[in-house]
């Protein structure tokens, strides 16, 4: 169906798609600390995976990422400081340390995982291992 691209509709559709996979058991429990910081979304992009984590206020230097096998560990801390002699009217932001791991249900090239951190968002680009990719089989 041909449809004019409407960014507002597109956002709503995307929000619904995210909502729909909230109950997804695709990870099969392959993450520690669900409900812990930072929250993780996982996307499929072609053969590969992209994990997107929201962590506003975390400095790049306070972030550590390790990959081993098909597990990626994300740890670090988020600090908040207020100047002295202020009167605090509202305090909603949270701070502390975090440590989560993500085990994906497929073979990955753990030495080729790339991480990008920008605007409080960490994106992990996780390439699928060649051995895990499906091949088409010729019928004789």
């Amino acid at each position: 169906m041909m449809r004019r691209f409407d960014p507002l509709d597109a956002l709503f559709d995307f929000q619904r798609a995210l909502e729909a996979s909230l109950e997804s058991d695709w990870l099969r429990g392959g993450t520690t600390g669900t409900g812990a910081f930072p929250p993780i979304n996982v996307f499929q992009q072609g053969d590969n995976l992209v994990a997107v984590l929201e962590m506003p206020g975390v400095h790049k230097s306070d972030l550590e990422i390790q990959a081993k096998g098909n597990t990626i560990r994300i740890s670090g801390k988020k600090a908040i400081s207020y100047p002295e002699d202020v009167s605090l009217h509202r305090r909603e932001r949270r701070w502390g340390s975090f440590d989560r791991s993500l085990t994906v249900p497929m073979q990955i090239k753990s030495d080729a995982v790339k991480a990008e951190y920008r605007d409080g968002i960490l994106a992990l680009f996780i390439p699928r291992a060649e051995s895990d990719k499906s091949r088409s089989i010729t019928i004789n």
Partner: protein, 131 residues
């Protein structure tokens, strides 16, 4: 600060008096506000919002902050497992202090917007000497 385990903050949806014609959801950014003698500082968490997608205005004593999410980056990506939703950020505050609008400073770093709103001259506290 002693170390503490950081928990996820559940995103709060914007509640509007009027119904929007657009069905997309918007969220309320977690905010800290503190005041010094000279200024009011507002710190808002808006992960994924870039500087050019921010609108800050003060109109008849109401501060409006709008942060639009550029979700084009998600093009061609199929969600398989999600723990949070994304959307634009929106929040308003009525200001009790008179603000020098021309001197408002805004800075974004690591997905956190810091607004410094300097108080107008007449709003600053004056020391009164008891004679």
């Amino acid at each position: 600060m002693s170390p503490q385990e950081l928990q996820v903050q559940e995103k709060r949806e914007v509640e509007k008096k009027e119904e929007s014609t657009i069905p997309a959801r918007a969220f309320v950014p977690a905010t800290d506000i503190y005041e010094t003698e000279d200024a009011l500082t507002i710190v808002m968490e808006m992960p994924g919002v870039q500087k050019e997608d921010l609108d800050v205005s003060v109109e008849s004593g109401i501060l409006n902050v709008d942060g639009r999410l550029n979700f084009k980056k998600y093009e061609g990506m199929q969600p398989v497992y999600t723990e949070y939703n994304v959307g634009h950020y929106r929040r308003s505050f009525s200001l009790t202090n008179r603000i020098d609008q021309l001197k408002i400073r805004a800075d974004v770093s690591d997905g956190v917007l810091t607004l410094v709103l300097p108080k107008a001259e007449e709003a600053k506290p004056r020391k009164i000497t008891v004679g």
